[in-house]
Symmetry: C2
Subunit: 341 residues, 2 copies
């Protein structure tokens, strides 16, 4: 194993730069100068987001291979751009790594991030590398292009708009809860669908761009805080409430098994914090069919799970028996970075 300290900072940077290539759409000056220079398209606004992973906090090295982790960090950022209907363009990656870090593992991490970005037409154009004597971390800043004045926000949901969610929310959070309880083996075959949801999320960039082009989405949010938490953000920003039908969510046998193993209700996992990088959308009911058709054509599950309501009703969910409860009373408790789990 070759360690970072065996090569030194400048040689490692040279390897990272050579491995990722330097030319691409909209890149005027690639890595190797004081800054990268990129060229936005005329008439485009830019969406800018940053997200970080810290060892022992967002992942453990025995949970996930470096290349998969790099892809996961990219997808986490890509999902924020998807929630703005922005087309991913350029990223810069900042690393804090131990001097004993394996050079090949670092190159694999970058490869994972670069390939995930490339699937959406985006390029890594720069970065920074520093040593840390403690938990390692990586911070990715991503820039996307979005049609002027057409970025999706959290503030556009109207009373009567539909609440839609992509995919199977709750799976990634269930995987983490299982792994925290039973160790890395919980991420093995027994809970494959959940482990995959946590390890290898796919940001819904194509869906977002197609829906944005067609129209009908009035607000959007990335679900990293969970349905209860992130819908609350949309409702607050939009000045509305929301009523969900618990029976409307797609059946999820994998989540049900995890809920049983964890001694929790499946709804609690589904509505609580879970880094699935799914989207919640507000959809104009007149455009429902068109949106559903677009999602189907891209193979993305898109489920209408409720409606936005007048604000005083708050955020509620109704079960099969017609009983309603506040969303926050159903959702599993979240993770606060600054408070013990």
């Amino acid at each position: 194993v070759t360690k970072l300290r065996d090569l030194g900072e400048f040689e490692v940077i040279r390897l990272l730069t050579a491995a990722r290539g330097t030319a691409g759409a909209g890149v005027v000056i690639g890595p190797g100068d004081d800054a990268a220079v990129v060229r936005p398209r005329a008439g485009e606004d830019l969406a800018v987001t940053v997200d970080s992973f810290v060892e022992g906090r967002h992942y453990r090295a025995d949970w996930i291979a470096p290349e998969v982790l790099g892809a996961r960090l990219a997808e986490a950022n890509l999902s924020d751009l998807a929630a703005m209907a922005a087309r991913p363009r350029w990223g810069v990656l900042s690393y804090g790594l131990d001097a004993a870090h394996d050079v090949d593992a670092l190159l694999a991490f970058q490869r994972g991030a670069v390939n995930a970005l490339a699937r959406h037409g985006a390029l890594l154009v720069g970065g920074n590398l520093t040593a840390v004597a403690g938990p390692e971390w990586t911070s990715l800043t991503l820039i996307g292009g979005v049609r002027k004045r057409r970025a999706w926000t959290r503030a556009g949901a109207r009373v009567g708009d539909l609440v839609a969610v992509t995919g199977h929310p709750g799976r990634a959070g269930a995987a983490v809860r299982l792994a925290l309880r039973s160790g890395a083996k919980a991420l093995g075959p027994a809970h494959r669908a959940l482990a995959d949801a946590w390890r290898a999320p796919r940001a819904h960039v194509e869906l977002a761009l197609a829906l944005a082009a067609a129209g009908g989405v009035t607000a959007a949010v990335d679900l990293s805080d969970g349905i209860a938490g992130d819908l609350a953000h949309v409702c607050e920003a939009s000045g509305v409430g929301a009523a969900l039908e618990l029976g409307a969510f797609p059946r999820d046998a994998a989540l049900a098994r995890a809920a049983k193993a964890l001694g929790l209700a499946a709804e609690s996992l589904r509505l609580g914090p879970s880094d699935d990088y799914e989207l919640a959308l507000a959809i104009d009911p007149k455009r429902r069919k068109s949106c559903e058709k677009i999602a189907r054509s891209l193979g993305v599950p898109l489920t209408i799970v409720g409606r936005f309501t007048k604000a005083p009703a708050g955020l509620i969910a109704r079960d099969a028996s017609g009983r309603t409860r506040a969303l926050r009373d159903i959702a599993a408790a979240g993770f606060d970075h600054f408070r013990p789990r």
Copy 2:
């Protein structure tokens, strides 16, 4: 003292966001959505750079107050934009902090960064906050606007162009060497000019923009790796050599005192790595007077210290007696992040 864990992640983010304001030039959607949305000017390219500070690696808490540290991180990034002739526009700040971090200290850090950016017309538009159980870190990504195809690079220096440097290179590095040897007291009154150079650098953004508007600069580099290291980058990228006159540098009594205390030659400190965030420029000799006049009008010392030469001559320096030596043999050794100091 109120700690981050006393308030929790969401309240701390709310405080940080409220404290920095959200509106400004070119900001379409400020903090609080999945991503910030900003609007470039028509016909502008964008320069993107990222830089990080790690506790114990780039600074020690007893060396520098939080507000000054925040400003310093901003200036480090601003200097990279200056070296591209880019006008600072927007920043995103990613933090890894201990749960016991003082909330007021965090707000002071952000205030320092925000004020430094504001001096150059730039705004903090987003960020990320995560907990770390180990050395704290902060990573700033900065985006600037630059006239299409007019970004300064390292590759434009021509044989016969002048080598110019701003300020008094070497001071910050001397301060760090003194502090590593004698502790924080070395950053006190005895070495005030050096301590100030390290603590409170001022990126030469205005100078860069004025020179770029007037013309005459053919290449530029930020001197964070020191004159010997960074001029070597320019020479390699431009396919030229360089010959410096050691006697041409401005007299620097403060640096001379530090050199004596450290048992090093002043030239060694001046040419070696030193985070002064000064610029080295290649200047067309026909534009020398115009460039000097601009620098004088802005109160920035700009000194012509040599010439770019044909490549085979390499990078050399001539002393008062006419003796020449290779730059790398004079410069103090640098810091490799992955090798022990």
